[in-house]
Symmetry: C2
Subunit: 259 residues, 2 copies
């Protein structure tokens, strides 16, 4: 049976999960769009609850979608519904509802020796790029705090390019609790700041267990949160630029921390 109406309750639920943060938080689910993300979700054993694919998509992406058909609820939808529900510029007609995986501080393990803390990052595209970069350089635990943008926002999910299924995402509202956990567990924390008085990135030898704390794109870290960190680091600029783009600065720091 092909779902032909956007008033079908399953489609209404899908659309609501895409558009509403509240719905995502209440249900504990989120939506991924596109065949590549679905392939990554299945490969990484994410909990895929339901897949929706347009008639054209089923023809085009038969191998991944056959896998999906055997793994979870599966609904065929019309190309027209796919276009209406889509959040993408060129919709592929593939959507899936996936269980979100929020962890608390108790999810930290002894092997989490390099940690990224994102403190009040506000732009979904930046957040996605930061998660993708962390995954690429080998950081496996990321902590979100202090009103960070929601990690299961569709734009964040898309920008991670699948990294979201490989990372351990830890959410804890207050950075103070996180820094308390770091102190108790001998994780040295570094505040990334734009301040020539701070230690220069090129001079730092990162300890075995450490965390890098990145603040808001426009305003950086609050004075309070900087003071909660063990050390402050900065990237020395050679031009007259005041600062690097937040994702770029964080990428360079993560690169140095893990290489």
């Amino acid at each position: 049976m092909v779902i032909k109406s956007k008033d079908n309750p399953k489609i209404k639920q899908l659309a609501k999960l895409i558009s509403s943060k509240k719905e995502r938080l209440n249900s504990g689910n989120f939506v991924i769009e596109g065949i590549k993300l679905l392939g990554e979700a299945l490969a990484e054993n994410a909990e895929v609850l339901a897949v929706f694919a347009s008639s054209s998509a089923i023809e085009k992406y038969s191998s991944v979608l056959t896998l999906a058909q055997n793994a979870c609820e599966f609904y065929e939808i019309t190309d027209d519904i796919a276009k209406k529900v889509s959040d993408a510029k060129s919709p592929q007609g593939v959507f899936a509802i996936v269980t979100s995986s929020y962890n608390g501080l108790d999810a930290f393990g002894d092997t989490d020796d390099k940690i990224l803390v994102l403190n009040n990052i506000s732009d979904p595209g930046n957040l996605g790029t930061l998660l993708r970069t962390a995954d690429a350089v080998g950081i496996s635990s990321v902590v979100l705090c202090e009103n960070c943008c929601e990690v299961y926002n569709p734009k964040v999910v898309r920008s991670t390019m699948g990294s979201i299924f490989r990372l351990k995402i830890i959410c804890e509202e207050s950075f103070k609790s996180i820094s308390g956990w770091f102190n108790a567990n001998d994780v040295k924390s570094f505040a990334a700041v734009v301040n020539m008085q701070a230690e220069s990135l090129t001079q730092i030898e990162f300890p075995d267990r450490c965390a890098i704390v990145i603040g808001n794109e426009g305003n950086g870290l609050s004075e309070r949160d900087i003071s909660l960190c063990d050390r402050r680091l900065t990237i020395e600029m050679k031009g007259n630029t005041e600062s690097l783009n937040a994702s770029v600065a964080a990428a360079i720091i993560m690169w140095e921390m893990t290489k």
Copy 2:
């Protein structure tokens, strides 16, 4: 006299320079928006031809705008016109027409020892971020080739955060001519590729005079352009990510090349 009509020829010219690439290329001018960019343009001695400021902006940013009034043509406009002309989310009511500064290969000097080549970069935001990063790490010459996005596109200009006034921008359509110049002038070129057979970035000692060549966000460099480079380099990934975001990858490479 305050300009009150958007049909005023000066306003029409301003609006056309913002919206039309053809107009920018024909006139040799482009537009900057915002008080910070204007301040940078004046500080870096860019050729500012005319400034347009709304009545509220004149009150708010009097120090920079007084400088501008003494340096070039100056027009007061209504807040309403400022809003209509603006390309920004929260318009500050400050615009300036600036002479663009395109250079050919003959602009390379002997001191250009670290060069960034952008080959077919298509996204304006990425291009702006790449220029800002180059400036921050101390690369002063950037070459654009092979249908790179126009450097004076308003979104590029905004993303550079002023770096556009400090960099030497060289435009040359064909990468073949550029690689010819590199060969004749003993500049070693490195193609950035996603290929585990290439040299790993962590293993490379960059020679004194070298250029890093970055390709299109989606498709990378063409086989032909890779073969025109002296060496190929890659960033080894630790996660399962296929690749880093183009601006992030280029930033990490520029960082290693200049530190």
